[in-house]
Symmetry: C2
Subunit: 177 residues, 2 copies
């Protein structure tokens, strides 16, 4: 484990909003939300959280690390599945309380259900107060996770299960984009 220096203390509003130093704000649980998108297509792949160690490791290694709320530990995305997220760019929002990662994914899939993105469904129509039908945006799964494992891992959040599920799929079964 590398011993990272702590992130700098938060400065004035102007320093935070218009300055040139990363001064991330962690919430009362020590977490900061992170949106992750494909670096090329800009497709949003997933939304997770990071603690200070996960953010520091992401910066130092260039590979996305998150904090697993269900397991209560550090989570290197793709550690078991091979679907590592290689960070092309790390952005921060104006008040520095949300991270945005632009990544390349080794395996072409990010979501444990088998799709490229966790956001694989959209509301079929807007303007209705009663029709909440979803339509699938991705027609085919990148991989087909084994159902038995899916059930066994019900105690994990779905994003986290991706690593366990894909670990049971042979690497050559995964389609590369």
């Amino acid at each position: 484990m590398i011993n990272f220096p702590p992130f700098p203390p938060r400065g004035t509003l102007v320093e935070i909003e218009e300055g040139t130093q990363l001064q991330p704000k962690f919430d009362e649980r020590g977490l900061i939300p992170c949106v992750t998108q494909d670096a090329t297509t800009r497709e949003v792949l997933m939304v997770g959280v990071m603690n200070a160690e996960a953010l520091a490791l992401t910066i130092a290694t260039g590979e996305a690390h998150y904090w697993s709320r269900s397991r209560g530990n550090l989570w290197r995305k793709g550690e078991q599945s091979g679907l590592i997220q290689r960070v092309v760019r790390l952005l921060i929002d104006d008040d520095q309380d949300c991270v945005l990662l632009q990544v390349r994914i080794d395996g072409g899939a990010s979501c444990h259900v088998g799709y490229r993105s966790c956001f694989f469904r959209a509301l079929a129509q807007l303007g209705s107060e009663t029709d909440l039908t979803l339509e699938f945006l991705e027609q085919e799964k990148v991989f087909d996770p084994p159902q038995s494992l899916s059930h066994r891992t019900g105690w994990l959040t779905v994003d986290e299960r991706a690593d366990l599920l894909t670990a049971n799929v042979r690497r050559d079964q995964i389609t590369h984009e």
Copy 2:
């Protein structure tokens, strides 16, 4: 105020993850996070939260509504500033605990600081444990918010202040993309 029917109760794991009905999960505060991106460029513009009413209004009107945590009320984005977010598509993630909006913005800007996106800065380099320098990705502001108002509104979160700030900028000063 329209009286929306409540969202359907959450079903089984399979229904939630692979079904065709919106069954959003609100947290213990009654909120669900929402990532908002430009419908054309896929640029991530902001991250906010919605309560059930904000989500229902977004679906019914096709205009993005959020919940303002600092003000404790419903927040129709652009109500004062004119920078309304018109929803092209509303997506939900696998476990239905995060919303993704793809929008068109009337005014070309989304961030109260004056930039198109709230994520207008990125880490200048990855791979360092000590250099946390940020670089600006947007060279010019879409609008220049008055500083005096910026100071007066310090009690609001920055995303929410965009509406107040841009309300003080003449509409014809705002560059349309």
